[in-house]
């Protein structure tokens, strides 16, 4: 049977901007080189970083793994948000997150990101097979 998982997350852009300015390790810890190249090419990069952060969080919620909380959650980096050829964002999983998604038999991932002046929001929908055991 097919199973649908969904996750949503909202980020306050002002708060996000303050945090990335306060902690120079934040961006390289959480975002891959490709994500950084994309966001840094935009006029207001922090808006795009905030939207991608929301997408990563939404992906984590959809996968049902929560955040680790015990440290600085590197799994966020393993959900990569990249533009497809058409410009729509797509999710690419790697590492431990990819293994977890295989356990849940996730076959398709879709993401949608939007922002206004103050907020960035993202929604992730995953489809997979329900475990038979």
């Amino acid at each position: 049977m097919m199973q649908i998982y969904q996750g949503i997350d909202i980020v306050e852009i002002g708060k996000f901007r303050e945090i990335i300015l306060r902690h120079p390790d934040f961006i390289p810890d959480i975002f891959t080189e490709k994500e950084r190249a994309y966001c840094d090419s935009k006029k207001d990069s922090s808006v795009h970083y905030a939207g991608r952060f929301a997408a990563k969080e939404a992906g984590i919620k959809a996968l049902g793994i929560g955040m680790s909380g015990g440290g600085i959650d590197h799994t966020l980096r393993e959900i990569e948000v990249l533009p497809s050829k058409s410009g729509r964002p797509e999710l690419q999983l790697s590492g431990w997150i990819e293994k977890l998604s295989q356990k849940k038999h996730i076959s398709q991932l879709t993401v949608s990101i939007s922002h206004s002046e103050h907020y960035a929001i993202a929604s992730v929908v995953l489809t997979g097979k329900q475990n038979t055991v």
Binding site: V11, K15, F16, I19, R22, H23, D25, F26, D29, I30, F53, E57, I60, K61, L63, G64, I65, G66, M67, S68, G69, G70, G71, I72, D73, H74, T75, W96, K99, L100, K103, K104, N131, V133
Partner: protein
């Protein structure tokens, strides 16, 4: 070696400061058993902010990978998370050791997204303390053994360089090896 420049209560005070600045809560509401999510309403971004603040104050590197992720890497896939994405008996036993106190919510079969609510101010402070305990006897720059604390930062009294601690992930791995030797869980 066990360092005695930075005490547990200094770590907890610094953590309180970080939590107050991040979450705008009353310092008196922060106790070791306080859950950042359930009691203080922290979200993921707040956790990152708090952890980075602790890194900056103490000059340390906290873990980037979750304990159970290290478990699967060291003891094989499926050792911590079962086929349904839930925690195995062994993972629960291990987390009980890790949290060093009785956490009734910790049960085999619980989902991974139920774990973060178990993170308390006390467990974060303990993680920082573990890293601080890795202070080497001698300065890695000049070899002197003359550490001095300037607030939360430890510096070499001879050459002035900041202390270099083990990083959080290496300490988790070392801890897992020790637990495995003692308890043979996996």
């Amino acid at each position: 070696m066990s360092q005695n420049l930075i005490t547990e209560s200094m770590v907890f005070d610094e953590l309180k400061k970080a939590i107050v600045e991040t979450l705008n809560v009353d310092a008196n509401d922060i106790k070791p058993e306080t859950s950042l999510i359930n009691d203080l309403g922290a979200e993921s971004l707040d956790f990152l902010d708090i952890n980075y603040r602790m890194e900056q104050s103490f000059g340390i590197k906290m873990a980037r990978h979750f304990v159970l992720e290290h478990v699967e890497e060291m003891f094989g896939e499926g050792s911590a998370i079962d086929e349904d994405g839930a925690l195995t008996d062994k993972a629960v036993e291990l987390l009980k050791l890790r949290f060093e106190e009785d956490v009734p919510e910790l049960q085999a079969g619980m989902d991974m997204d139920e774990v973060p609510a178990l993170v308390t101010a006390g467990s974060i402070a303990a993680g920082v303390m573990d890293i601080l305990e890795s202070l080497p006897e001698k300065c890695t720059h000049c070899g002197a053994s003359d550490w001095k604390a300037e607030g939360a930062a430890v510096k070499c009294g001879a050459c002035g360089e900041a202390a270099v601690y083990a990083n959080g992930d290496d300490l988790i791995k070392a801890w897992l090896e020790k637990v495995q030797t003692e308890k043979n869980l996996f």
